[in-house]
């Protein structure tokens, strides 16, 4: 019994000293990131990671960052987020829609930790949401596709039927219809944000069915590469993917999270952080288009003009008249869709065949 007591005391002493030493080294503020995929996806997560590096570059003397990658949306997410909160991180970015409930749950348990949830719509006192108006980029892509496509069929690799994805499809087709009113889109739902095998399969199938432009709302470069193999033009997603398809990428929507991340970290450091909802677009520089490549000069000029007009606010992607699939007018002529309709969009616009999965 005596030796057991000694062991117990030794263990306790070790634990206490360990605890003391870790708290002593916490001079820098810790900022944590939860990623749904790997930074190497060169897509969605890569863009967030680049922004994280911007924080380190600008505020590296006061802030140190940690990231956890490949966290599935589900019960495991709660564990991962809680782990970051428990280990002294004061600001945590959860970078995928499906982390909404886990973030809120952990936020309740740790009221003095601030959370930033990407692309979500539920907030709390210590949970902010932020998103980018990717749909503006989709509109530009649609304009390009409408002008460039010879077969008149677009291949769209979609992930989950949530408003953000549906908005993207609608914006893309609105842009495409301005160039080719009869253009069609074929949508394949892969029910994953990141699954290179499935994305490549979906791209091949869409091309087999006659699509000569491929676009995606999934995170890897696999679809772009599969299209490049057959010489089919495609769009990069969330980051410039030109190195993976130098001869076939037309452009890419680049998510420029850096300025927002740095601003929020600064707000945390000087105590002015408040829960808010941010939905910035091209005008604020959160959505940037990659250089327009592999297209004729007149297409590039048209794309640049569309981009500039969206940036200055002269053009709005969802400006009326817009009808939904049943022919009912949802946006009147001369008006633009308000944020409420955009945030909850769960219908296809007119001109898109096929049913939206529930």
């Amino acid at each position: 019994m005596k030796s057991l007591n000694r062991v117990a005391i030794a263990l306790l002493a070790a634990l206490l000293s360990f605890g003391a030493s870790t708290s002593a080294s916490a001079d820098k503020t810790k900022v944590g990131f939860i990623y749904i995929g790997p930074p190497g996806d060169h897509g969605w997560t890569y863009a967030h990671d680049q922004a994280r590096l911007e924080i380190e570059k600008e505020l590296g003397d006061q802030v140190e960052t940690t990231f956890v990658e490949g966290v599935p949306e589900g019960p495991d997410a709660e564990r991962a987020i809680a782990k970051l909160a428990q280990t002294g991180h004061k600001l945590i970015f959860t970078t995928s829609f499906g982390y909404m409930e886990p973030t809120l749950k952990v936020a309740k348990r740790f009221p003095d930790v601030k959370f930033e949830h990407a692309t979500g719509y539920k907030r709390a006192d210590n949970v902010s949401t932020y998103s980018a108006r990717f749909y503006e980029g989709r509109y530009v892509q649609g304009v390009i596709a409408g002008k460039v496509s010879k077969s008149g069929v677009i291949g769209y690799i979609a992930s989950f039927p949530i408003p953000e994805v549906v908005r993207g499809i609608n914006a893309f087709m609105l842009g495409a219809h301005t160039q080719n009113p009869n253009i069609k889109v074929k949508v394949v739902w892969v029910y994953s944000w990141y699954d290179p095998g499935k994305e490549a399969d979906a791209a091949k199938v869409l091309m087999d069915q006659g699509a000569d432009i491929i676009t995606q709302h999934t995170d890897s470069t696999a679809a772009l590469q599969a299209a490049a193999d057959r010489g089919i033009h495609a769009f990069g997603q969330a980051s410039d993917m030109i190195q993976f398809a130098p001869k076939t990428q037309l452009t890419a929507i680049i998510d420029a999270w850096g300025p927002y991340y740095v601003a929020r970290t600064k707000a945390l450091l000087d105590g002015s952080w408040k829960s808010q909802d941010t939905w910035d677009g091209m005008g604020e520089g959160m959505v940037v288009m990659a250089p327009f490549t592999n297209m004729d000069g007149d297409v590039a000029a048209l794309a640049q003009k569309t981009y500039d007009d969206l940036r200055t606010g002269k053009l709005h992607a969802f400006s009326g008249p817009i009808n939904d699939q049943s022919g009912k007018q949802v946006v009147a002529a001369g008006a633009v869709a308000d944020d409420g309709m955009l945030a909850g969009m769960n219908f296809y616009i007119e001109g898109i065949d096929g049913e939206l999965p529930k």
Binding site: V187, V188, Y191, G197, V205, M207, A222, E355, P357
Partner: protein
């Protein structure tokens, strides 16, 4: 219609090829009486080392050799544990899967986002001509042909050659084979190594030809499908071919159905390949007698020589 069928069949064959490799290897392994559940891990190890080999040397075929070799190495860990140290085959196989998944993720972490020159088809027709029957027969990449060749070679080896018969004897009655004087442990070692070789090639195919990139867990459960395919095929190689094409085919068909706009919920279509596998397994197992007749009698049992 023809210009949809031909590309679909070609895509089906590429989807089936990793399954053909992995299932053929596992079939030979199981025929010798060893149940190796580590196929998923070995495929991932083959995929990551194959990809690294291709990135470092610049040649995808070099990568293929590296991937195949790494598959053999992974299976040898399993072989030493189960054949020499007589550990439980099921547990060791599962451990190999978990090990393979983790090791591949660790080793591959620096290679996510790299690109390589992929394995290309031998005959690339003029794209303006559209799909043709010639393309259907000659336009696949070399691995598809290799997979079919290996499958046929294994079928011939197991049913007609002397060593094939000895292998089957070891799997059906290891004590008798030992009594006659055949080196049971060595034969099983060779069978396990062959299984690892095939799983390594199947995995390397994924990262070198199917989607020329490395992503964690990129086999996405194909190793488990390959295991099920062996049972599905009643341990007969030609049936493995049908099973692999069926599984690969359903995956592609469901994507095609979505793109055509048939309106069946995508989630249900994603389930189809797995549901089909389960259905066939249930049908085959319904005749318990037939299952007992075809399965190697000593499958999964450790060999302890009596004398």
């Amino acid at each position: 219609m023809l210009d949809l069928i031909i590309p679909s069949v070609m895509t089906m064959m590429t989807a089936a090829t990793p399954l053909i490799f992995a299932a053929t290897g596992e079939l030979v392994c199981e025929k010798s009486g060893v149940l190796n559940l580590g196929v998923e891990g070995m495929m991932l190890i083959g995929a990551v080392f194959g990809f690294i080999g291709a990135t470092v040397t610049g040649d995808p075929y070099m990568g293929l050799i590296v991937g195949a070799f790494s598959g053999i190495m992974a299976s040898l860990i399993f072989a030493i544990l189960t054949l020499l140290l007589v550990s439980n085959q099921v547990a060791t196989g599962l451990a190999l899967t978990i090990f393979g998944t983790g090791l591949s993720a660790l080793v591959g972490a620096n290679y996510v986002g790299e690109t390589i020159d992929r394995i290309r088809p031998l005959y690339v027709p003029n794209s303006a001509d559209g799909p043709s029957v010639a393309q259907l027969f000659f336009g696949h990449d070399p691995m598809v042909y290799l997979g079919l060749l290996v499958l046929l070679a294994c079928a011939g080896f197991l049913s007609r050659s002397r060593w094939g018969m000895i292998l089957r004897a070891v799997g059906d009655s290891d004590q008798s084979a030992h009594a006659i004087g055949y080196p049971v442990i060595q034969i099983r070692f060779a069978a396990v190594a062959f299984g690892g070789l095939m799983a390594g090639i199947g995995g390397a195919y994924l990262s070198l030809a199917y989607t020329p990139l490395w992503a964690e867990n990129m086999s996405a459960g194909r190793g488990w499908i390959a295991l099920a395919l062996v049972v599905f095929a009643s341990w007969r190689p030609i049936r493995v071919l049908f099973g692999a094409i069926l599984f690969g085919g359903i995956t592609i068909v469901q994507l095609n159905a979505q793109a055509i706009g048939l309106g069946i919920p995508g989630a249900i279509m994603s389930m189809l390949p797995y549901v089909a596998t389960i259905l066939v397994l249930v049908l085959i197992s319904s005749n318990a007698m037939r299952v007992r007749l075809n399965a190697p009698a000593c499958l999964g049992q450790p060999f302890r020589p009596e004398r």
